[in-house]
Each structure stands twice: as C-alpha cells, then as structure tokens.
C-alpha cells in the first residue's frame, strides 16, 4: 500500500510570531521555519505503518515556495521514500490545497492519505476534510490511534467529551491529532540518505489548479494585551466585582 503524507512548512512552534508593521500578515523574513508539528506526527505514523509491513511506499508532498523542499527532506530523513514539491509563490488556501492533493492522489492511487489535523500557522483544520469530500473517500479526523487490517482502517478520534472509534474502508483520509504518537528524531544515517532520495517538482498548473487565494486579508493585528490581574480583599468583594464589574454572575 502506498501512503501520501502532505507536509506544510510553517513558522517554527518555538518562534514568537510578530505581525508585520504594515499589518498585511506575519513577519516571515529571517524567521525559523519547520514542518507543521501535526504533519510530523502524520509522517511518524506513516513510517510506523511501513515498519509494520503495512505500507510499502511513503510519498511526502509539500506545496509552496522552493524552500518547502527542505520540509520534504525532513520527512525523507524520518523515513519517507520520495517527495513531490508543488512549487508556487502563492499561499494557497485549504480548498486549493485539497484540489491539488486530489489531483496527486488520483495520479498516485494511495491506500491512505495521512496528514496533520491542522497547520499551526492558520489553524484552518479544513484541508483533510475537503480532500476526503473531493475524492469521495471516508475520513477519520483527529486520530489518536490508527489500526489497519485488510482494507479497513480503524481510527480512534479525539472528540469533545471522549473518544470515538470509526471504521473506514480504504482508500481513506486520516488526520493526525497530538496524541497519535511521538515523532522520532531523524538519525544521522537517514539524514544523509535523505539527500539521495528523489523529489519531483511540479507546478499547480500541472495539476490543473489555480492556487490564487479567494479570500482577501484586510488586516492582521496582534490579539489585545491581557489586562493585569487584581487582588481582592474578601469573598464579598470578589462576588461584588464579578456581579457588577465583570457582569458574569
């Protein structure tokens, strides 16, 4: 079985994101970029499926500027076999990404697409769902456990208030949640081997998709600063403030 793992290049989770002074977006120049952590979990799951003998090949896909090739290399160093880079300077939105992934899925015919449940930059949480809908495949989102037997994937999902288990008939789309696994560190020999693994570079037009954004960003601002807390002298004062100032009780 072949696995497709889309990986997104995002601002590293350690970086404190700053809004550009002209409010058109966030500052990306000179900022450390890394693979979206949820996608890293998806790559890890794919590699584990391969190690168990369930998957035969893992294809990592990234969409964006040429530097996304480095994000693919990271996936290759973790154990993916080859990469596809869809090179574009546009910042495609979830629907355009889902359309491009559909075109690749139709070409590659994978048994499973496994990806992060959302990217930590825009937190859209939409691409996996859209891709499943476009392909007409079943979806198991927010996966905390994935088991594959024959042509069925049993996916445990983290939903509000508990866990839900669904059985999907393959091919399917699974999106990874935080607790699915703990991604490995790429080993030195694998980092070196990753340099020799192939990455195919294509354009959105090759997939028949226009990556131009459909949304217009009006303004990006920082969230309002949190007010400092105050100490109250007594329970009565607390109740009074909650009732009359905060008006929450």
């Amino acid at each position: 079985m072949k696995l497709l793992v889309p990986v997104k290049r995002v601002v590293d989770y350690n970086v404190k994101v700053r809004v550009k002074s002209d409010q058109t977006g966030v500052e990306l120049t000179g900022v450390k970029m890394s693979m979206n952590p949820f996608d890293e979990i998806a790559v890890e799951e794919a590699v584990r499926l391969k190690e168990k003998g369930i998957a035969a090949e893992i294809v990592a896909i990234s969409i964006g500027p040429a530097a996304c090739g480095e994000t693919i290399r990271t996936a290759l160093a973790m154990g993916a076999d080859r990469g596809i880079l869809v090179e574009t300077e546009a910042s495609p939105e979830p629907l355009a990404v889902a359309k491009m992934l559909r075109a690749i899925a139709e070409r590659e015919q994978p048994g499973l697409v496994i990806m992060g449940k959302q990217a930590i930059d825009d937190d859209m949480n939409a691409t996996g769902q859209m891709l499943a809908a476009l392909l007409g495949w079943p979806q198991g989102t927010f996966a905390s456990k994935v088991e594959i037997a024959g042509d069925t994937a049993t996916v445990t999902r983290e939903v509000d208030g508990g866990l839900e288990t669904v059985a999907l008939t393959l091919p399917a789309v699974v999106t990874a949640d935080l607790r699915l696994n703990e991604p490995r560190y790429a080993s030195l020999p694998n980092i070196m081997k990753a340099r020799k693994k192939p990455i195919e570079t294509i354009k959105p037009a090759d997939l028949g998709v226009d990556p131009a954004p459909r949304l217009t960003v009006l303004k990006v601002t920082e969230p309002p600063k949190r007010q400092a807390g105050r100490k109250v002298g007594s329970v009565a004062e607390l109740v009074d403030k909650l009732r009359n100032e905060a008006k929450v009780i």
Binding site: G30, A77, Y185, A186, S187, L188, M192
Partner: protein, 592 residues
C-alpha cells in the same frame, strides 16, 4: 531557566560564509557534503540537543550519579537519552567509514559537539571520551585491536575512557606507578590505581574500553617509560560480545563542585588483562593524540556552556521588570522596564556575545585545520595545518574555558539573587564551566605549553600560520580606520613574542611568568582577527541581505563592541608581560 536553541544562523555564518565551507570541502575531497546536507544535520542535532539533552541537564545536576558496591548509575533519563543518541547515529558522525562511521568533516563535528555541550555538559563527556579513545586507537592501535574494538565504540555500544591520573601524579605523569606485566600470549596484566577517570564506570553502555597508562617491568624512569594499554571492563568473546568481567573495578566516584551527572571514578586494576597500544614506552605520545583532541574538545565545552549562559541571560533580561531606563520609561504600560534597557546589563550581554561568537568563529577556523591536517591535498598543506592546530590547541583550551567561567558568571549576575539560588540553573552553568579550566591540562599548563613548547618549536615556525594571515589582513585593510584596534593589539603581541623569546632564553622563569597573560593576548588577537574578518563578510552581504539584514547589522555592532571595549585589554596584557617576573617571584615562600 536554562535556555538553549542551537544558534543555527550563526553556525551557518561561521561555516559557510566566514570560512567558505564549499571551497574547503572541495579541497579536502568531500564535495559530496553539500551545505544543504550540513544544514539539515545541524538542524536535527540542534533539535536533539534542545529537546533530549537539555531537559535532563538540571535534573542530572540535582540528582548526580549513584555509586553502590562498584556499580555506578547515571541520573534518571540519562540511559534513555544515551540510547536515543546512539540509535540516532550521532556517535559515528566524524569517525571513519571503514569502521562504521559517517566520515563527516570536523567542521561539522565540532559544531555538533558544541551543541551537545551547550545542552548538557555532563552528558557530552560520555560520548566525548569515547571519541577521544577512538582517535588514539585509530592512530596507534594494531589492526587487530582496531577491528575488534573500533566498530562497537563508533556505534556507541561500547564507550571509552582515558586513564592517566593517579593519586600522586596529575600534571607530572613521570611519577606514575601502575604496572603492566607481559604474558606469554602477548597480552599484559595491569595492576594499579587510577583516579579522576571520567566515564570510568556507568550504566550507559554494555562495555567500557579503558586506555591505561602503565609501566613495563624494564621501563626507564620518568615519562620515557610509560606505555599505553587497552583494558576492557568485560573481555570480549570470540563473537565480540562482552564476556567475563576483567580485573578492573570502580572503588568510588568523586563528589564534585559541578559536572555532577558525569561519573568521575576511582578505578582499581588488579591483574587486569590488557593489550599494548602502540610501541612500548611510547605510551605518552599515543595518549597525547587523545589528549590533544580532548583539549580542543574541552575548549568547545567552554564555548558551549557560554552560549547557554548567554541565551539564558538574554531571556531573563528581556522578561525581568525592574526600575526604569535612565533615559525615561521605555514601557510605561508595565510596572517597570525590562532590565535589558540598562547600560550595565547591555555591557554584560554584549561582552558575552562578543566572546561567544568570536570563539565560535575561531573554533570554525581550527576545525578547518583539523580537516586539512588529515585530508589536505599536499604534504605542505597538511604540515601547515598540523602546525596551526598544535599552536591553537592550548589557546582554544585555555582561552575558551577561562572565558566560559567569566561569561557564565556574568550571565548569573544578570539574574541577580535569582542566579545565585538553584531554581534557574545559572549557578549550575558556572559550576559546570569551572572544571573546563582544570581538566585535560590546567590552563596554567596550557599557557606553558604555548610559551615553552609551541613558540620555540622549529624556530618559531608554528606561529607563522597565525601571524602571517593576521599581518596580511591588517596590511590589506590599512586604509580602514576600524582596523586600528587589531593593528595595535597585534603590535603588542609581536613585541610580547619577541620579548618572551629573548627573556625566556636567558631565564625560563621569565617565560613562565609571562605565559598566562601571553596566551590571553594571543587569544584576544585571534578573536580580534575573527571579528575583523566577520566585519568584512557582513558588510559585503548587507546590501543584498533582505530578511537577514538585522543579522549582519548585529554582527557589525558586536564587532564594534569587541574592538572598542574588549580588544584594548591587549595593551594592558603587554604592559604586564613587560614588567617581568620580579614582583611575582621576589617574596620568600614563608612571606605568603
């Protein structure tokens, strides 16, 4: 709070931009190692250091190593981290492919080493000593010993140690007493007691390979009668599995000021089976292969700790609100300004930064010479590189570690009382850094090595590889007024060199009295040269830097700070050197 994120941007600057890694790798026949490959290695190594090694640094210090009945247990998390380290292949990074290594150049190896030292100095000693032992075996071991021990050591399944010190002999190895008695089968039986053996006993690897200095029965007295032996903790079986326990036991571990998660052991050898490494009575030379490599590594340790001290101090200076800026409030919305607004805090942070980045640049230069020493295209290049490494080894060792203690103490000062209490980990950095000035040859000995051995060797030939490029650079940039501080410092260094050569020839005590100041003077000039070259590179890149402009601008500002505020110390050092030994040696011992 100890903060460490690998300074990847600066490492890439040093390696690729300042020292031209592409041309260098071509020159040593490693053009297959691309800058993209290096960057991905550095990135992953940095991740490993911050995420695996750093979290067990403070806890390892708090818990320390445990000793019971000859068994040493490392602190919680160390075994797991070591297994991850080994499985990820980091122990094989710079080792030769013939024995399972990745054969990567030292310019990469030294940077990865720095990261490990930054994140967890105690941890770094375990693989660090294995690496040193590997080098000694590679250089002097028989083919049979190499084939039997190197692959497991490079894989990190077995670790290594170096056994020199005995209770009565540290610096003066001529006094050592451990005996080796030849056996009919060609092996030897080793008997004696060693102290201060780092990683001498622990629970991280299935076997420990000790390299031990001992005397043969007919050995001449002093340092000319010392041989080196390989003594494994477990004697390997035919299929190279750890077999019966050898006659070496751990009699205890030291309770130290710092570096608490590194097991410093007393080892007792009782008729332990060993094999000769290298020629009889030539053990010290063989051990010095390891010692020299370790000395450079200790310098890198200092650099590593200083980097973490810097990052932690910057973090605190930005967050700690106290007082108002002298020029008026900067953050009227807050109860007070962050202390980074204050000139004295700036002075502290800039000093640490200028030293740390300068040392990293210098270590990149020396690492290049390490590569050229082995892989240079012709004998002349290799010999020049060897000279340069020999000259710079005591400088890197002593300068970097003196500065590590000074700068980690300065970083602690930024935290005030919160640095002195244990909660933030700053006092650990100071305590850990302190050992680096002592082991692998105390810094006073490094200064003597520089002045007594390296300067006079081959009529001063070793100085050429350093003096010539500095001189040429100053002459080529004579029109630039910013070169003046370096030119003045270099002038002081040249005069001091001539002075020591003359005065030292008449009276060795004069050379000894000048040694430590001279080493610092030479070190400052080396850092000054690195900053001058950095200025040139940063200026050339700045116009087209786009998003990186602030990086290059910071380089220029830090270079300016170094030139104006730190490099002028060179003049004071020269004044002190000139004064000679008189006031130092005049008092009668009883007058102290």
């Amino acid at each position: 709070m100890q903060i460490y994120n690998a300074p990847l941007r600066d490492m890439r600057f040093v390696m690729h931009e300042l020292h031209g890694s592409a041309a260098h790798l071509d020159r040593i026949g490693k053009s297959g190692v691309t800058s993209e490959l290096i960057d991905s290695i550095l990135e992953e190594a940095g991740k490993f250091a911050s995420e695996v090694l750093l979290p067990i640094n403070a806890s390892g210090d708090e818990e320390g190593c445990h000793y019971e009945n000859g068994v040493v247990r490392t602190p919680r998390g160390f075994k797991q981290a070591y297994d991850q380290f080994r499985e990820s292949g980091w122990s094989a990074l710079a080792a030769p492919a013939e024995f399972g290594g990745q054969d990567l150049p030292d310019i990469v190896g030294k940077m990865v080493e720095e990261m490990q030292c930054s994140a967890n100095l105690s941890f770094s000693l375990y693989p660090g000593l294995t690496q040193g032992a590997t080098l000694a075996l590679l250089g002097h071991g028989s083919d049979e010993l190499k084939a039997r021990f190197l692959p497991k050591m490079i894989e990190g399944v077995w670790s290594g140690t170096m056994n020199l010190t005995e209770a009565h002999c540290g610096t003066d190895l001529g006094l050592l007493r451990t005996k080796a008695v030849p056996q009919e089968d060609g092996s030897y039986r080793i008997t004696g007691a060693k102290i201060f053996i780092s990683s001498g006993e622990h629970d991280l690897t299935e076997n420990i390979i000790h390299l031990v200095l001992a005397r043969l029965p007919d050995a001449p007295k002093g340092v000319k009668g010392i041989s080196m032996f390989l003594v494994p903790k477990f004697l390997p079986t035919g299929d190279n599995k750890p077999g019966p326990r050898n006659g070496v036991t751990c009699a205890g571990i030291e309770h130290k000021m710092g570096l608490k998660a590194s097991a410093t052991c007393q080892l007792v050898f009782e008729d332990a089976v060993g094999w000769l490494v290298g020629e009889p009575n030539r053990g010290l030379a063989a051990m010095f292969t390891m010692m020299n490599a370790e000395r450079l590594s200790v310098g890198i340790q200092g650099l590593g700790v200083a980097e973490t001290a810097y990052q932690s101090a910057v973090h605190y200076a930005r967050e700690r609100l106290q007082g108002r800026a002298l020029s008026g409030p900067r953050r009227p919305d807050l109860a007070a300004d962050p202390i980074i607004v204050h000139p004295d805090v700036r002075r502290t942070l800039m000093t640490i930064r200028a030293y740390v980045e300068g040392c990293r640049a210098l270590s990149g230069w020396v690492a290049q010479a390490l590569d050229l020493e082995k892989l240079g295209p012709d004998p002349e290049t290799r010999r020049a590189a060897e000279d340069f490494v020999a000259l710079m080894t005591p400088v890197v060792k002593a300068l970097f570690t003196d500065l590590a203690f000074e700068t980690s103490s300065m970083a602690l000062q930024v935290y005030g009382g919160h640095g002195y209490i244990r909660d933030h980990g700053m006092e650990q950095l100071v305590r850990d850094a302190r050992i680096c000035m002592i082991y692998e040859g105390a810094n006073g000995i490094q200064a003597l090595d520089l002045v007594g051995r390296k300067l006079p060797a081959h009529m001063g030939r070793m100085l050429r590889g350093f003096f010539h490029p500095v001189q040429a650079f100053i002459e080529a940039n004579a029109a630039d007024p910013r070169i003046m501080p370096l030119a003045r410092a270099f002038g002081a260094l040249q005069q001091a060199t001539a002075h020591i050569a003359q005065a030292g020839l008449k009276d060795p005590e004069e050379a000894g009295a000048a040694a430590t100041d001279y080493l610092r003077l030479l070190g400052l000039v080396a850092l000054g040269y690195m900053w001058a070259r950095t200025t040139q590179v940063a200026e050339a890149k700045l116009p087209t830097a786009n998003g990186d402009a602030s990086f290059y601008q910071s380089k220029l500002t830090t270079a300016q700070f170094f030139n104006e505020r730190l490099l002028p110390q060179a003049g004071a050092l020269w004044t002190a050197i000139k004064a000679g030994k008189e006031s130092m040696m005049a008092l009668d011992s009883a007058a102290f």
